[in-house]
Amino acid sequence: MRAYGTELASPLMLGTALYDSPAVLAASVKAARPGAVTVSLRRESAGEQAGQAFWELVRGLEVPVLPNTAGCHTVREAVTTAQMAREVFDTDWIKLEVIGQGDLLQPDVFALVEAARILTEEGFKVFPYTTEDLVVAERLLRAGCELLMPWGAPIGSGRGLNNVFGLRALRAHFPEIPMVIDAGIGRPSHAVTAFELGYDAILINTAVAKAGDPVSMAEAFRLACEVGRLASEADPMEERDMAVPSTPTLGKAVFAS
């Protein structure tokens, strides 16, 4: 997938949170071979150095980083966090999250569009975490976003693609825009479906980090992305309501009863 002129090495983006240890994180990233890893910013007291150690680990992975604005609820919070992330991580990529509803971690799409506009004007390359709403998508593109990241289901829910119809419509409506399913994917089969629907990439975290064996699951997702992408490029057949025999009927033996 191309993201703002950069070809990602893989259509799999992987979050770095929730792993049991830095070693499991590093091994999972190696197994997933992601095109980017997501990172964040948090308060750190002096002398704690957890953030510095984490940064050294991520740098050693040699994978592009995509900082997020997780936990932001207002335009101002998101913009300030993005500005801080750009300096710390030395990238103008930003996964823009503006949360509007706490139970579902649903994006506040009005604030999202406004923050995307401001950040684009400031030179950011915005990866907006949004819903599958067509009108919001159009506004995000008008605000300067060159790709979209609709949710499959609420963050961390693992429910997969809740609204296949809506995601299909979004894909069909903006055929040229790179699109990433961000959030909600729980299993490799969900990832395969995302690619079969025509999506260009997926972003996952909890599905790997909270699997019983994160490293194996990371590899499973890497393979699922390959499978899904191959299948998508191979132009799957259309569904039918009625059965159609696959074995030729011509020349079939007739046995008298």
Partner: protein, 65 residues
């Protein structure tokens, strides 16, 4: 003077952000700063003076999804 650092009240002697970061023990740490909700880039820290009661946010890299 007293300022609020990451939601904790701190008594500090420095007035400029660059000095305050050293005083608080951040030294050369990879952190980003904001004062009263406004980002202050690294290049502006030495010229940025804090007022009594200012809210200073100091953020470091962290795991994220």
């Amino acid at each position: 003077m007293q300022i609020i650092v990451n939601d904790e009240t701190k008594r500090i002697s420095g007035r400029f952000l660059s000095d305050i970061l050293i005083e608080l023990g951040y030294g050369e740490s990879k952190v980003a700063t904001a004062i009263d909700g406004v980002f202050v880039p690294r290049s502006a820290r030495s010229g940025r003076e804090l007022q009594e009661g200012a809210r200073l946010e100091i953020l470091a890299p962290m795991q994220g999804g």
